[in-house]
Amino acid sequence: MTGFSPLEWAAIGLSVRVSLWATVLSLPFGIAMAWLLARRRFWGWQVVNALVHLPLVLPPVVTGYLLLLTFGRNGPGGRLLEQLFGMTLAFRWTGAVLAAAVMAFPLMVRAIRLGFEAVDVGLEQAASTLGASPVWVFATVTLPLILPGVIAGSVLAFAKAVGEFGATITFVANIPGETQTLPTAIYALLQVPGQDGTALRLVVVSLVIAMAALIASELLARAVQRRIGGR
């Protein structure tokens, strides 16, 4: 039960790498989108809000297929990335990052948006009367106060990314060593007779990663809350 095979290690490593990148890369966009939805009312707000939440309600296979159509080798987005950066997403681990980020985005935005809505606009006004420009107000007042929401959103997004299956397998398939993450590896093992034991080991790994993420977020959130609330 101890030693993992190289392919198992690859799946574990890839899952963590894909989820971390997906979380980190979508964070700035998540904060910006949460701000937009929480603080601005504009024409088309409903449409933007619906688009952000779409991956939550669409069958993941549909999201994955749409990603394939858009960012596949012959899709408009895929060709653009190829020409500009020489970058390919389809059937690569980078594509798995995109799939995970898109699927996790609504969860991240929802949590951070709650954070924005909890911030007293009066505090921001007070900061501006003390001489802070809008950028400084955001950096020194808003951002520290939404930090619990940012942490919660990041952990949710990370957990969602680790577990992401449908969109990933549709967009980047299940190539061992390249795009095979924990869930797709477990799925593949379960298709082969007599591999239940190996699958179970990866299930335990999934559990450990999920628990670690939840506990870390709880500790972090408590530390932040102590600073903010002074408790």
């Binding site: 505090l123 007070a126 009367t129 107000v137």
Partner: protein
């Protein structure tokens, strides 16, 4: 000096005011809904009026196409609800404005001493009482090096004890810093203590503005400012302290005796005389326990609601108000020019001049 002309149409309410604020403390007085907070928010740049012209000294803050954003106005704002940053300590809250203002006219240590904040510096706002929060908010605004300080009912959310705790600090600010202040309030006793001039608003319009003593002794404003609290302010000088514990003060209408006054001989004080605590008599009264009896002359009588009438009295160059019944006024034959005596049932010290 601040000059402001503001006009804004709200749903069912129109604000249209124009006034100037001289040195010292200008009270922006009016009932709730008069538009006081709107006016200070517009001056601070936190809201945009339909039409606004605001000048602070040489600087144009609002005019035609100009709208200076709040962070470049150098106008300190003390909010009713303090609005301290919960994630920062008291010290960090106080220093917040100094990150952005270059020079500083008041030092950190001076403000800490002036407002008694020394023991609070390491705490976070959740551990402060309402009064302490408001003192920190005042200090924070002062340390941002403002050219004008706006105080929007800073005592309204506090109970009587905490109000009494903060008022002396505000008086000290007025007397020790040459910083013009606008003090929003609907509490007359507070205004009488602090204000050097008063702007009176009623439902979005300017009703009157001028030196505090003139506004407070104007009988036609008494109705708006609240008849129950109506009262005038006169200046008195401490003449001597008697061995029986009474201080003797000279006023334009004669001597006033006050107990327990710890102010040096020669100092000038502002005394507030509530209109309902003045009794009038045509002859100098004899055999009366009241000590404070001033010689005065009737200037005018103003009818107010019910059975009452407000009598404006002249003591040399100063004026006081007396609220008596219409029946008494008729019985005494009070009319402009008639000499009489004002018996003061209560006199409050509104501040040191």
């Amino acid at each position: 000096m601040l000059q402001a002309a503001l006009a804004h149409q709200f749903a069912g309410f129109r604000l249209d005011v124009k006034f100037a604020v001289p040195q010292g403390v200008t009270a922006l007085f009016g009932r709730s809904g008069a538009g006081k907070t709107t006016v200070v928010r517009a001056i601070a740049g936190l809201m945009r009026c339909d039409r606004a012209e605001v000048r602070l000294g040489e600087r144009v803050l609002d005019a035609g196409g100009v709208h200076v954003p709040p962070h470049r106005r150098k106008i300190g704002y003390v909010f009713q609800d303090a609005r301290l940053f919960p994630h920062l300590t008291v010290r960090q809250n106080l220093l917040y404005g100094q990150w952005f203002s270059g020079q500083r006219r008041v030092g950190f240590d001076d403000v800490v001493a002036l407002l008694g904040l020394g023991v609070l510096l390491g705490r976070t706002p959740v551990h402060l009482s309402g009064g302490e929060k408001q003192r920190v908010a005042i200090g924070r605004a002062l340390l941002s090096d403002p050219d004008l300080l706006l105080l929007d009912e800073p005592l309204a959310a506090l109970d009587e004890a905490h109000r009494a705790e903060i008022l002396p600090y505000l008086e000290q600010l007025r007397d020790e810093l040459r910083l013009p202040m606008i003090y929003v309030s609907h509490a007359l006793p507070e205004v009488a203590r602090l204000a050097t001039s008063i702007v009176v608003l009623e439902t979005g319009r300017l009703l009157a503005s001028g030196p505090a003593a003139d506004i407070l002794s104007d009988p036609s404003l008494a109705k708006v400012m609240g008849l129950r609290d109506a009262g005038s302010v006169i200046v008195a000088r401490v003449a001597k302290h008697e061995p029986d514990g009474l201080a003797v003060l000279e006023t334009a209408g004669g001597l006033v005796f006050l107990p327990g006054l710890a102010v040096a001989v020669g100092a000038a004080l502002r005394l507030r005389i509530p209109a309902q605590d003045v009794i009038l008599s045509r002859q100098r009264p004899e055999g009366l326990s009241a000590l404070n009896i001033l010689a005065a002359e009737v200037v005018s009588l103003t009818e107010v609601e019910g059975a009452a009438v407000l009598v404006t009295l002249r003591l040399a160059d100063q004026r006081i108000l007396a609220r008596i019944t219409r029946r008494s006024a008729a019985a005494l034959g009070l009319a402009p020019g008639v000499a009489c005596f004002a018996i003061l049932k209560s006199v409050a010290i509104a501040g040191v001049v």
